[in-house]
């Protein structure tokens, strides 16, 4: 009990630390003192502009999207009973991406208007991809086949990204640039309207998933045990899956094609804090936020003035971790 509280508190402070580092990092340097002054309303106009209009919204997006992806991965790993599952691997992110690119190619005028609309579209795309992957890996007698789930996910993601390439090649030069940046996973919507677009999704869905923590505990056992614990497995699986898709799709719609966070964060959380979802869920969310914000900060810091997209940094950390988990897994 005590250990769990300590871990969650520690993670919270870790996030705070990343936030402070991130606030001070960027093309124009600001010392911690200047940041504090500006936050208190005593900075210069330029400092206020940088902090309030660029850095703060971008950080909040990174935190929200990171938490969303981590929660999504946590749910998917539990439902599929596969420690290697994550929203990227299951085609959800790519499906969301296809919808976003499709929208851009059909309505090339508006990259600014659809702040509230893009997450919604991305949700539909992600849900369709997830439905396809789950449908293809479901057998009537045997239920969900975890091994095939992963293979199908890899294949569907490959097919969808091919589709996305076709669509994006037809875009105008400017929109192609926008799409390309989006696809490699860069936090492009660094403005307050995107924060307001994302925040309710993440908060509401987190509340819902947290409310279902005990159900998730039950679902992590095999089907018979879960049923024995009084859980109607199929119904809960679908509800939670919908929540996972929504979390991933909303995050991806603003942060772009970022993979691996949904894999790493729940994994680390479980190693730190055990298997109970009441603790794993918030720990995953905090870790996911730290990871994405950290990756975005590192990406901005290392190769100034050019900027490495957060998605690339995450993949460089995430892929080796994935391989490590894969090498340790028994099947």
């Amino acid at each position: 009990m005590k250990r769990r509280a300590i871990v969650i508190t520690a993670l919270f402070f870790l996030l705070l630390l990343v936030v402070i580092i991130s606030l001070n990092t960027g093309a124009s340097k600001m010392s911690p003192l200047e940041v504090a002054k500006t936050l208190a309303g005593m900075g210069t106009a330029k400092q206020e502009l940088i902090l309030f209009e660029f850095r703060l919204p971008r950080m909040l997006i990174a935190i929200l999207a990171g938490a969303g992806l981590a929660l999504s991965g946590c749910i998917i790993q539990t439902i599929s009973r596969n420690p290697l599952a994550d929203p990227g691997l299951l085609g959800i992110s790519t499906g969301a991406g296809v919808m976003v690119v499709l929208y851009l190619s059909l309505f090339p005028t508006g990259t600014d208007a659809p702040a509230l609309f893009l997450p919604f579209l991305a949700f539909i795309g992600g849900a369709l991809a997830a439905a396809l992957v789950f449908g293809l890996s479901y057998e009537k007698q045997e239920g969900l086949l975890p091994g095939r789930l992963v293979l199908t996910g890899v294949a569907v993601a490959a097919g969808l990204s091919a589709l996305m390439t076709v669509l994006s090649l037809r875009l105008s030069r400017e929109l192609y640039q926008f799409a390309a940046v989006w696809l490699t996973g860069s936090i492009w919507g660094a403005a307050w309207e995107y924060v307001w677009a994302l925040l309710p999704w993440i908060l509401v869905l987190f509340a819902f998933v947290y409310y279902k923590a005990r159900v998730l505990d039950a679902l992590s056992f095999d089907e018979a045990t879960a049923t024995g614990l009084g859980v109607s497995v199929a119904k809960e699986q679908i509800q939670l899956l919908a929540a996972a898709v929504a979390l991933a799709a909303a995050s991806v719609s603003i942060s772009g094609g970022i993979g691996f966070i949904g894999l790493i964060a729940p994994h680390l959380a479980r190693r730190l804090i055990g298997v109970h979802h009441v603790y794993v869920l918030p720990a995953s969310a905090l870790l996911g936020a730290c990871l994405l914000l950290g990756a975005d900060t590192v990406g901005r810091a290392i190769l100034q003035p050019s900027e490495i997209h957060a998605g690339i940094v995450v993949a460089i950390i995430g892929a080796p971790y994935f391989l490590y988990v894969l090498a340790r897994s028994a099947r």
Partner: protein, 342 residues
């Protein structure tokens, strides 16, 4: 011997001869067709003349000689390379889902090409090919190493997963390099450009490598057949499996690395074609490998023609076309062999 009989019983040499004869004539016809289709429509008789009665004053002849012909020949070489590399991998790893794209080899080559573009911009094409091999080798080593280190050893699922992760890693690194050195456009051009930009000079450098590797594959084919029945069977029959595997891996790297260095990472050719070949001719790799080469060339030629006709005057990237055909095929294979992937 029991296994020899089994191989004989479940192979069809007559089908192989049929595939080779029909396939080769289809290739010749498709080359002619491929040359005549494009931004400038050219009649087949002109194609004939350009090849056999070349007249440097005619633009059509020049287009054929300088652009269309190398492109078609590149299709043939590259298609055969990816297909044979896939066949060898599927035979050696006993993994029906093996393919240069899925197992990360293409991403490894791409990373090396990106590194060469960024740090050694004046590099000759010959060196680029060799570095591309090393990239493919590094990726293959990682994918296989991680799978082999796991408890329970190498399984098809593990190979595919490790391939996906290594691909993601190498692709990200390539993108990072491309963004930092502002090479995005060059790399994207190379990446999606496919066979359009292949020149004679490249072909001359590439062809010896690929032909040599294809011949080596044929020489190794009997051992691969035996290996495809499992390592224990092969060892029981007195095969030095380590040497066969090493040779096979080298051939795969030359084929996949060379092909990627010429036309960029094209996946799924190596997945589909060996399945088709085995469907026609059975389990003997002495037949599967030559038939894969022919069918791979043919598929590549058709895909290239298709890529030019879908959305003229733009060319649809050929890798995209293959993904759109290959993904349903992958799903079909993984469903059919339910037991292995449950």
């Amino acid at each position: 011997m029991e296994i020899e009989k089994h191989i004989k019983r479940s192979s069809r040499s007559w089908a192989a001869i049929l595939v080779l004869v029909v396939g080769l004539s289809a290739i010749l016809f498709s080359i002619a067709l491929s040359i005549s289709v494009g931004a400038a429509d050219i009649r087949l008789t002109t194609v004939w003349d350009a090849v056999f009665h070349y007249d440097s004053r005619q633009t059509a002849h020049a287009i054929i000689r300088d652009l269309r012909l190398p492109r078609s020949l590149a299709d043939v070489l590259v298609g055969a390379s990816f297909a044979v590399a896939g066949a060898i991998m599927q035979g050696m790893t006993r993994n029906p889902l093996a393919d240069a794209g899925l197992l990360g080899l293409n991403a490894g080559s791409t990373l090396m090409v990106a590194i060469c573009f960024a740090f050694f911009p004046g590099l000759s094409y010959q060196s680029l090919i060799i570095w591309s091999f090393f990239g493919a080798a590094a990726a293959a080593g990682m994918v296989y190493g991680v799978s082999a280190l796991s408890r329970g050893g190498v399984t098809p699922i593990r190979l595919v997963l490790a391939g996906a992760a290594v691909s993601a890693l190498f692709t990200s690194l390539s993108e990072g390099i491309a963004i930092h050195f502002q090479l995005s456009q060059e790399l994207a051009f190379w990446y999606a450009g496919g066979v359009a930009g292949v020149k004679w000079s490249q072909l001359k450098l590439l062809a010896p490598w690929i032909v040599a590797a294809l011949v080596a594959a044929l020489l190794l084919s009997r051992s691969i057949t035996i290996l495809s029945f499992g390592e224990e069977v092969a060892t029981g029959l007195g095969q030095k499996t380590k040497i066969v595997k090493l040779m096979g891996a080298m051939i795969v790297l030359v084929l996949a690395g060379g092909a990627v260095s010429a036309v960029g990472p094209i996946g799924f050719v190596g997945l589909i074609v060996p399945h088709l070949a085995r469907f026609f001719v059975g389990v003997d790799y002495r037949l599967v490998i030559p038939c894969s080469a022919v069918l791979g060339s043919l598929l590549m030629l058709w895909a290239d023609i298709g890529a030019r006709m879908i959305h003229p005057p733009y060319e649809t990237p050929i890798g995209v076309l293959f993904a759109l055909i290959g993904v349903p095929f992958f799903l079909y294979v993984s469903r059919k062999r339910k037991g292995e992937f449950a």
